[in-house]
């Protein structure tokens, strides 16, 4: 049955099947163009001329300074966070063979957010580099909790999602609890509750960068193993794959990627769920094609969400996590209706 679920989503459009590189390349170009445009959007409108000046190192005027200090880190983070969340979701959906799996569905994002926040509040002045490992531990705990609680003669996709909702709700209540005990300002609170790239600097980029740079290529190298796992446990074992070991390691990578994203951006939801879906619909089910394209869709979604949040009503900031929730909620409902048999 599980293979049937995956197979249902392996739908190839002719264009993507014949020329995957063309389509992926144009998505990449779109993401780059969007990034440049995104650099000019914000509370202070910056002209494209100043953007290019700033990027070439000429930061003499104030507009260029804004681009380098505030906009650039956000755009880079949008890329990294989008890639991390989308690849994490793609791996989870491949490993669990479950179209409803995603870091936020299985509780990883809220667990990681809670742990990250706990660390920041418990030890003031903690080095930022420690936040990612803490978030990782939290995400791992939450995922393990969801799996254990959902397990009852097997863990069905829908039950995992449902238990994930409850565990996420508990961790979210925990986050609110911490927020009330340690009043931060509203924007900081909203970052932890809904996820945002507001006020992030280059130091956040350095926090997440090593994780993405190391783990994403590893996952891509293993993309074929994901395909093999998709054949079902028996067949995969027959092909000489140490199924359990591979599965655990890949899940660990997925949790680590999602947690590193949460550590820098708060709990941004739905990207890990919908980006891999879009990728699978367009590029088919082979992970070597679907994971990189999922990453691109993730980047596009993050850029779009962050840009919309900044540009819709400046100087007000709408957290990117809210935008992704408004896009992702209906998509999830659509998936739920579609997977209904």
């Amino acid at each position: 049955m599980s293979t049937a679920i995956v197979a249902q989503h392996v739908r190839r459009t002719t264009l993507a099947q014949r020329y995957p590189h063309v389509l992926m390349g144009s998505l990449g170009v779109l993401a780059v163009v969007l990034s440049f445009y995104s650099l000019s959007v914000g509370a202070t409108e910056v002209s494209m001329h100043d953007v290019f000046n700033a990027l070439t190192g000429n930061t003499s005027n104030q507009a260029a300074q804004i681009v380098v200090d505030f906009q650039l880190p956000r755009v880079i983070l949008a890329w990294l966070v989008g890639i991390a969340l989308a690849v994490s979701g793609g791996v989870m959906q491949g490993v669990i063979r479950n179209p409803l799996a995603a870091p936020d569905v299985v509780g990883v994002t809220k667990g990681a957010g809670f742990a990250g926040m706990l660390l920041l509040l418990a030890i003031p002045g903690v080095p930022v580099l420690a936040v990612v490992p803490a978030a990782f531990v939290g995400g791992l705990l939450a995922a393990a909790l969801v799996y254990l609680l959902a397990y009852r003669r097997g863990a069905t996709p829908v039950r995992i999602a449902l238990v994930g909702v409850a565990v996420s709700a508990a961790f979210e209540a925990g986050i609110r609890f911490l927020l009330v005990r340690n009043p931060l300002d509203v924007s900081a609170a909203l970052i932890w509750l809904t996820g945002s790239l507001f006020g992030r600097s280059m130091s956040s980029v350095y926090e997440i960068l090593p994780w993405v740079v190391v783990l994403v290529p590893l996952v891509l190298i293993w993309a074929r193993k994901l395909d093999v796992l998709g054949l079902g446990d028996d067949l995969a074992a027959g092909l000489g794959e140490p199924v359990e070991k591979t599965r655990r390691l890949l899940l660990l990578f997925a949790v680590a990627l999602a947690s590193s994203a949460v550590a820098v951006s708060g709990t941004i939801g739905f990207i890990g769920l919908i980006a891999p879906h879009m990728a699978r619909r367009v590029f088919g089910g082979r992970h070597l094609a679907s994971l990189p394209s999922a990453a691109l869709f993730g980047v596009l979604l993050m850029l779009f969400a962050d840009m919309l949040g900044r540009g819709l009503a400046p100087p007000l900031e709408i957290p990117a996590g809210l935008v992704t929730a408004v896009i992702g909620g209906p998509y999830f409902l659509y998936l739920l209706v579609k997977t209904g048999k």
């Binding site: 829908v158 449902l162 209540a173 009330v180 509203v186 007000l316 709408i318 809210l322 408004v326 048999k341």
Partner: protein, 351 residues
């Protein structure tokens, strides 16, 4: 399932044919709830940043000449009363909804009803800042009804029957969507941090007598309506066919029950925000303790919901005195494990 002609209520989700409400058990549960209620009210009135001896209470009820009495009358009493009202309303709404939807995971907060009410209220307040009181409650009814019906339709639109778990997932997602939209509105409105958290988690921190006056008529309508339906609900619990055979207009019962759900939860949410999980967990606990005869189940749910919100509010004041954790956070922490337990018991294996 052999069914004798005596009307023995049969919860659809448990396949246990016994559950005969024992009068003794019901009495015990009622007494315990009453005791908890009295202790809770006294406790709720006595704690706070200013300690006030309860001997001042009688004086504070009708006049408030001294500061202590003023605090009691204008801050603590409305807070306690509102906690009781909101808890009762949400718990009865949950019991009604589970009966009407024949679904143990149905509850106003799970099905998007509460989030719909909150969204519409916040939208209305954002568009017309001077709006408050009675009209917002009416708008909340609209939001609650639209959200609830949409979730029902969405969950039912997949091929095949509506499984409880699918319904819950669709409802939870719709809720999170509506809550996100509400947050966007709040950001545009630039409210203070307090009211942000209030509209997102719910609580009775800012209760005033005005809220209670607005809520009271709807609460009375909803509760009286719900209680008067208990016989129909008992029949409905036997299953649609059986209920029809016994001369019950099933559609009318469903429609009426849903209307009272909307009134009760819409009204409660419009004054207290979305207090989490009350409507889901209280009916289950009471059904376990006192059986599932709706004639006693509904009043006991009202009492238990009141107790739960009251104690959640009390707990919220103990966490770190000058700051208060909204009661909704406390109920979410209590409710999530129970939700997991209920989800695990669902024997749903397909997709």
């Amino acid at each position: 399932m052999s069914q004798s002609t005596t009307v023995v209520p049969q919860p659809t989700e448990h396949r246990r044919p016994k559950i005969v409400t024992s009068k003794q058990r019901v009495t015990w549960v009622a007494l315990v709830l009453l005791a908890l209620l009295v202790v809770g009210v006294v406790w709720g009135l006595s704690i706070g940043s200013q300690h006030i001896s309860l001997s001042r209470l009688p004086g504070a009820i009708f006049r408030a000449d001294e500061p202590d009495e003023l605090i009691l009358q204008s801050i603590r009493m409305p807070r306690v009363v509102l906690a009781l009202m909101v808890g009762g309303a949400l718990a009865v709404a949950g019991a009604l909804m589970q009966a009407v939807a024949a679904n143990p995971l149905a509850a106003p907060e799970i099905m998007g009803v509460n989030a719909g009410a909150v969204f519409v209220v916040v939208l209305a307040v954002t568009v017309v800042p001077s709006l408050s009181g009675a009209p917002t409650i009416l708008l909340a009814f609209g939001g609650a009804a639209v959200a609830g019906v949409s979730v029902m339709l969405l969950a039912g639109s997949g091929r095949g029957r509506v499984s409880p778990v699918r319904l819950a997932l669709a409802g939870v997602t719709a809720s999170s969507l509506l809550i996100s939209l509400t947050q966007v509105l709040i950001i545009f409105d630039e409210n203070s941090a307090d009211s942000v958290l209030f509209w997102l988690v719910g609580g009775v921190n800012f209760a005033g007598w005005g809220d209670i006056r607005n809520l009271l008529p709807w609460l009375v309508i909803g509760l009286v309506g719900a209680f008067s339906m208990s016989r129909s609900l008992n029949l409905l619990a036997l299953g649609d066919d059986m209920a029809r055979g016994l001369g019950q207009n099933v559609e009318r019962t469903r429609l009426l029950g849903s209307a009272f759900v909307v009134v009760l939860s819409g009204a409660a949410v419009s004054v207290a925000g979305p207090v989490a999980f009350i409507g889901l967990i209280v009916p289950h606990i009471i059904r376990r303790l006192a059986g599932s005869n709706y004639t006693v189940l509904l009043p006991l749910c009202a009492a238990a919901g009141s107790v739960l919100v009251l104690y959640a509010d009390i707990l919220s004041r103990y966490v770190k005195p000058p700051y208060e954790v909204p009661a909704g956070v406390v109920t979410a922490l209590i409710g999530a494990p129970i939700f997991v337990y209920l989800a695990r018991r669902q024997k749903v294996t397909s997709s």
